[in-house]
């Protein structure tokens, strides 16, 4: 009897295991929610910054203002580390039950997140919103996909030229006003001070390299009838690529060290006093201030080809978006407006140095804090954005451009061959 009881138990276990195995198709979560509750808890994910306390304070004020005007609503804010944002946000799209209602996201991710079906279309609310009238065009473009708006810009980030005032003074070098002067200055400094990089550049520093391509009149891709084609191998783009990769070498930034550097590495090199110049963002200001070069540097817009021209910078930055899966859509959109509104952006600029996305707020901010002036000037000269298509996410993640720069600076391929290969890979990604 005992034996048969065991047999029965084992057989039951087999039967029970059956359904688990038959659930065989890979998971796909349902898209969109239908509920729109007017009370309850809203969950927010924001990025964790290096020095997060001032950001938390500004956000806390915005949240308090929001809960004061919305009865019966609670808001919980989580700060997620920037490095782990990609898997986290993907996981949130996959599992609506544990997903937040409102997220902060990098503006290059917009098109990808929209294709993933993660972000809610807020075109109607955005257009009716008073603050949004002053949103600058580049920032608005970064939340727009196929004419629809998927969030509110939170801040913009642009890069400009950081340089060492003491080194320039000691060597009697004038602040460069053209790209040719920039290259000459970098090489002169390296020759006189071999322990310094003239201009710190990185083979994996895409956003430091793009201004060179744009300054030469090149483009990453051309849009025609709604589809993108790579333009990175055009004659003008190749000229820009050659200008950037020409900065790698023993006469400025040795390829053996600089080929693998990314943006942060070049800024770190500058902040620690190992480079006389670097291309850094307004968001790097605090890191440089905390470094060894404090009080010995200044910032100017990165010069373009002609005298007085500014090389177009990449308009980076973050947006605030509402998840499609939220069950509190109206509330979530209201909270988005509060978090990305003029008042919060003003606070974030004072606390964190994040450049506002509203023309008027930004002008007023630059007047208050002079260090922001070169960045604002760069933005006003016309910043550019990467192709607003999900393919860009793939191109970015599969390191197409860093591979191209590294192939050239390590001497594996010439500019034409490397750019051609990159263009093929980009076209493949755009087609998907």
């Amino acid at each position: 009897m005992r034996l048969s009881a065991r047999i029965a138990a084992a057989a039951t276990a087999l039967v029970l295991a059956g359904p688990a195995v038959t659930a065989c198709a890979p998971a796909t979560s349902g898209a969109g929610a239908t509920a729109d509750a007017k009370t309850g808890t809203l969950r927010v994910w924001l990025f964790q910054e290096v020095d997060n306390a001032p950001k938390e304070k500004v956000v806390q004020q915005a949240v308090s203002a929001f809960t004061a005007s919305h009865k019966g609503v609670k808001v919980t804010v989580d700060y997620i580390p920037v490095e782990t944002r990609a898997p986290r946000i993907k996981a949130a799209f996959n599992d609506p039950a544990s997903a937040p209602d409102v997220i902060e996201y990098g503006n290059t991710d917009t098109a990808g997140y929209v294709k993933d079906g993660g972000l809610a279309d807020v075109s109607r609310e955005f257009t009716a919103w008073q603050d949004a009238k002053d949103t600058d065009p580049a920032a608005k473009e970064s939340v727009t996909v196929d004419g629809k708006i998927y969030g509110a810009p939170l801040f913009v980030g642009v890069r400009a030229l950081y340089y060492r005032t003491d080194v320039f003074r000691d060597l009697g070098i004038a602040v460069p006003t053209t790209q040719a002067e920039l290259v000459a200055a970098a090489k002169r400094i390296r020759a006189a001070r071999p322990e310094l990089y003239g201009l710190a550049v990185g083979g994996a520093y895409t956003y430091g390299a793009l201004p060179f391509i744009w300054a030469a009149g090149g483009e990453l891709a051309a849009k025609k009838d709604g589809t993108y084609t790579a333009a990175i191998d055009s004659a003008r783009a190749r000229q820009g690529i050659a200008a950037y990769t020409g900065l790698f070498g023993d006469d400025n930034c040795p390829a053996a060290k600089c080929a693998r550097m990314g943006g942060n590495d070049t800024v770190t090199a500058f902040a620690s006093g190992k480079a006389a110049m670097a291309i850094g963002g307004d968001f790097n200001h605090q890191a440089v201030e905390a470094g060894a070069v404090r009080g010995k540097y200044a910032v100017v817009p990165l010069p373009g080809l002609g005298k007085g021209e500014i090389a177009p910078a990449f308009a980076g930055g973050n947006n605030i978006g509402v998840l499609k899966s939220t069950t509190h859509r109206t509330l979530a959109v209201d909270l988005m407006k509060e978090l990305a509104g003029k008042k919060t952006q003003r606070g974030l600029f004072d606390a964190m140095g994040f450049l506002p996305t509203y023309g008027d707020v930004r002008a007023e901010a630059a007047a208050r804090k002079p260090y922001a002036a070169p960045f604002v000037k760069t933005l006003e000269a016309g910043a550019k954005f990467v192709p607003a298509t999900p393919g860009w996410g793939t191109i970015d993640a599969s390191l197409v451009l860093p591979t191209m720069f590294q192939e050239i600076v390590s001497g594996r391929k010439d500019v034409g061959a490397a750019a051609g290969a990159a263009a093929r890979k980009m076209d493949e990604a755009f087609r998907k």
Partner: protein, 306 residues
């Protein structure tokens, strides 16, 4: 399924299956089901858009495999992975066996020291180990370059180990051998200890050299152990990820140091092409199975039962 087929036999016929059932269910849940999913996903179009419901999932047949095999980079990476893994396995086995022999010949105190050093390397998490090695070999601040320069090798002033393809692979190889030889050393040492002393004594009385004793006495007697550590090493070294990812910054300058696992990660997770990543996973699985089965067959044919 088995119950239905064996139902007509006498009761005793399927009792063993029932006893095996709990283990089989656990194995099925933990091994077969994920493998099944891996295989299934490799036949679908399954990117982030499908996972989060933005676009419907569609069956692609062998399209993912065709894309993979049509990609010249895949073949380069595959070749690099095979050669790199082979070098790592040989290095690990050579160092591990040599040190195991050494362990049997030295006094207790140095033996303890060597054991502790080995266990320390073994216990170090791969990320930590890789980071420490990167620091040791740093072009500007690393002690290794400083020592080499002081020894008169001035070419190593500011030498970047990760810039050249082969020097970067060599550096990672050293780290992989360093963190995986202790397993071989400890296992082989235990095996040598189990070899009867008389056998070794007899060999010595016959005047056999050290090499001869290893070649003709120890290695054949340790064959089962060596088989296990070799297969383990092949599997580990073929699947190397952390060391390459950390030490060469995600695959080296222009992807020169990519190995299959890092390549799969780039495809599957960084660019969210889960189906292509799964296809790479399936290919890796098949290669590892083939290597293991081939190796076992080879041993069988030599007339040795394991």
């Amino acid at each position: 399924m088995s119950t239905a087929r064996t139902g007509s036999r006498r009761a005793g016929g399927w009792t063993p299956w029932l006893y095996l059932a709990p283990a089989l269910i656990v194995l099925g849940g933990l091994l077969v089901y994920p493998l099944y999913q891996l295989g299934l996903i490799s036949f679908l179009e399954y990117t982030q858009a499908q996972v989060s419901g933005g676009e419907p999932t569609s069956f692609q047949g062998l399209a993912n495999y065709a894309a993979l095999f049509g990609d010249g980079q895949f073949w380069q990476v595959l070749l690099a992975t095979v050669l790199f893994a082979a070098a790592c396995v040989l290095g690990t086995l050579a160092v591990g066996c040599a040190l195991a022999l050494l362990l049997t010949r030295i006094r207790a105190l140095p033996r303890l020291a060597l054991m502790l050093a080995g266990l320390g390397a073994w216990a170090t998490p791969a990320v930590t180990g890789s980071t420490v090695w990167m620091f040791l070999f740093d072009p500007d601040l690393g002690p290794v370059n400083k020592v080499l320069v002081r020894l008169g090798l001035t070419g190593f002033q500011d030498y970047s180990w990760t810039y050249g393809r082969y020097s970067a692979f060599a550096l990672v190889l050293l780290e992989v051998v360093w963190c995986s030889f202790p397993f071989v050393m400890v296992t082989v040492y235990a095996g040598i200890r189990a070899v009867p002393g008389e056998v070794l004594e007899a060999a010595e009385l016959d005047g056999a050299s050290q090499w001869r004793v290893w070649r003709s006495v120890l290695a054949p007697m340790l064959r089962p152990i060596l088989v296990v550590v070799t297969i383990q090493s092949v599997i580990w070294d073929f699947k190397v990820f952390t060391q390459i990812y950390v030490m060469t910054g995600g695959g080296g300058i222009a992807g020169q140091n990519l190995v299959l696992n890092v390549y799969a990660y780039q495809k599957a997770f960084a660019s969210s092409q889960y189906s292509l990543g799964s296809a790479i996973g399936v290919v890796m699985l098949l290669i590892l199975l083939a290597v293991t089965l081939g190796y076992l067959r080879l041993l069988r044919r030599q007339g040795e039962e394991l």
